[in-house]
């Protein structure tokens, strides 16, 4: 039985602003196994980035507030660690890469130095050794080590993202959080970067939480998938479960909204309406106002997690229990 690298239990996160009280994450539980790549799929405002930032406790609070929940990592509850202990984890045991490579790098320092700095922050080694390791990382991401002393502006978007990945993996973390890492890149560059990430992932046996809205990327990169909607995980399973045996009406709606390369239908089938207002706490299912199959029960009572097949969990009243 593979170990779980990360276990999130009942995470609840809210944003308290002058205007409103936003229920960003509403009781999310998730396990990440060692060496596994899990996709967190959802649209803007679903809460995926909030979940990732909560793991590293880098949410701006105020206005964010982690109300309850536990995140077990490497034998400790990350919610209970002191700031100093968290610093030992960030960048070292858990690393994160963000969407926009243009602003992720410090423009006044060389790329090599930035990787070196990441290494030296967490390892008591000599400067020479750190430089050597940084060069190794650069080569690993496909950048010639001779470019060590160049500045970020001398690199293109795709190369910058590779540098960011090199920085993140420099300390060989157990878990990598990747927040839409290729969304800002061109399609052909995206292909290069994803291929590189796949290689690295296998070499270093890192677990990855990949946040994305692109189901194509999920199909190519992820072992398991969690579909996030309005701050909840509405469906969870292996990639096969989600793609071949799609269960939750929202996930079905997402697939139907995609323009496919191999259909001849003349109109897409979008999900009607908009995502639920995050300041509202509905009595029933959060998807009930847009769900084509919604019943009265759906609107009145929050649905339970149902295991429709081993390991495939759906939060819905209308999907029967397993066997």
């Amino acid at each position: 039985m593979p170990d779980n690298v990360l276990e999130i239990r009942d995470l609840v996160v809210e944003y308290h602003t002058d205007d409103a009280h936003i229920y960003a994450v509403n009781g999310v539980s998730l396990n990440v196994k060692k060496g596994e790549t899990i996709g967190l799929v959802g649209e803007t405002g679903a809460g995926k980035t909030t979940i990732a930032k909560s793991i590293l406790r880098i949410l701006q609070s105020p206005p964010a507030k982690i109300c309850s929940g536990s995140i077990m990592f490497d034998g400790a509850d990350l919610m209970k660690l002191s700031e100093k202990e968290m610093q030992h984890i960030r960048g070292n045991k858990i690393a994160m890469i963000f969407q926009d490579p243009m602003t992720a790098l410090n423009p006044i320092e060389t790329v090599g130095f930035q990787i070196e700095e990441a290494i030296r922050l967490h390892n008591k080694i000599s400067r020479v050794e750190a430089v050597r390791r940084a060069c190794e990382m650069l080569e690993m991401v496909g950048i010639p080590a001779e470019r060590y002393k160049e500045y970020p502006h001398q690199f293109s978007g795709g190369m910058k993202q590779r540098v960011v990945i090199a920085m993140a993996l420099a300390c060989k973390p157990m878990l990598l959080l990747a927040d839409e890492p290729t969304t800002a890149l061109d399609v052909t560059i995206q292909a290069q970067v994803l291929e590189m990430m796949n290689d690295l992932k296998t070499k270093l046996n890192t677990s990855v939480i990949l946040i994305t809205h692109d189901l194509g990327v999920v199909a190519n990169m992820c072992d398991s998938v969690a579909v996030v909607y309005a701050g909840e995980i509405v469906e969870y399973g292996t990639a096969e479960d989600i793609f071949d045996r799609t269960a939750h009406p929202y996930t079905v709606g997402l697939f139907n909204s995609l323009p496919r390369l191999n259909t001849t239908e003349r109109r897409l089938k979008p999900i009607k309406g908009l995502m639920l207002d995050p300041t509202i706490k509905p009595p029933g299912c959060r998807f009930s106002d847009r769900c084509p199959e919604a019943t009265e029960k759906c609107c009145k009572q929050p649905p339970p997690d149902v295991e429709v097949s081993p390991g495939h969990i759906v939060k819905c009243w209308l999907r029967g229990g397993s066997n």
């Binding site: 002058d18 205007d19 409103a20 309406g273 639920l276 207002d277 300041t279 509202i280 106002d289």
Partner: protein, 287 residues
């Protein structure tokens, strides 16, 4: 139902609402309103004329007839302070208005048209800014005689570059936004684009700056009056009142303190309001 929480508010309403939350800014607005009203209704509020001298009351202590006492010439201090409000406000507001209107116009033209127009205007402002304000004032005073009006002119003209540069910078940002291209696609004339689309969206930082400039100009005016280049006696002005007390400060420091406090309160109110406006007009409002 989903939009229940999005109350329909114009952007102006949003700004006012945010401003109301800043207690210092709200307080400053009240203070400034009172000061302006005092200035407008000075004739009715002041118990005595500002130039009524009475040597028997020289350096009189505060009493029911003279709430703040009298100065060395027996003039009622409170009345003089009240009348002085007019002069000081004129310096602050008129001078800022001159600088604002000229500066915004120059900045708009430079920012919108760019190219050599921009270059000419900016170099002109560079040269302009190298002339110190006091020098300009002294020159004007020498040529036209020292007076409040000339001080207002001098201060106004010498502070044009700041709003001009701010406006230009703001316009450069707004000009590249897609909704300006969209306006062009609707066949909007340049004039319409500048007046209707660019200025309303670019003016926020300039408003903040101008609010704080009022305070700055009151100070500048007081300084000019202190050296005799502003309001001329017997018309009272806070700066001249401080100057009058210059020689007797060791024994009668209070005569300098009253006008000094007035200057301080007014300038502080302007600055606090400016700060509050800057927060309320924060670009994050756009998201």
């Amino acid at each position: 139902m989903n939009e229940a929480y999005r109350k329909k508010r114009s952007r102006f309403g949003e700004v006012v609402r945010r401003l109301k939350k800043n207690k210092a800014a709200v307080f400053s607005v009240f203070v400034l309103i009172i000061i302006v009203l005092v200035g407008i209704f000075a004739d009715y509020l002041a118990p005595y004329p500002y130039d009524q001298q009475n040597y028997s009351l020289s350096f009189a202590k505060p009493s029911p007839e003279h709430w703040l006492g009298c100065d060395q010439l027996g003039r009622d201090i409170l009345s003089r302070l009240i009348y002085a409000t007019r002069q000081s406000l004129q310096l602050g507001i008129l001078a800022t208005a001159i600088a604002g209107i000229l500066g915004i116009t120059l900045g708009c033209i430079a920012g919108y048209y760019g190219g050599w127009v921009d270059m000419v205007i900016m170099r002109f402002l560079d040269i302009y800014q190298s002339i110190p304000m006091f020098l300009l004032c002294v020159t004007l005073a020498a040529v036209m005689g020292p007076s409040l009006r000339n001080a207002v002119l001098a201060i106004g003209i010498s502070t044009v570059p700041l709003p001009a540069r701010l406006m230009r910078a703001s316009i450069l940002t707004v000009r590249n936004q897609e909704f300006i291209e969209a306006a062009r696609m609707c066949n909007a004339s340049n004039r319409r684009i500048i007046l209707k689309h660019i200025i309303p969206n670019a003016i926020a930082p300039v408003i903040v700056s101008i609010t704080m400039t009022v305070g700055m100009n009151i100070l500048a005016g007081a300084s000019l009056s202190y050296i005799g280049l502003g309001a001329q006696p017997p018309i009272p002005e806070w700066g001249t009142m401080v100057a009058d007390a210059r020689n007797i400060m060791r024994d009668h420091a209070i005569l300098a303190l009253y006008p000094g406090l007035c200057i301080m309160i007014t300038v502080l109110a302007c600055n606090l309001l400016g700060d509050g406006l800057r927060d309320a007009l924060d670009p994050r409002l756009k998201n």
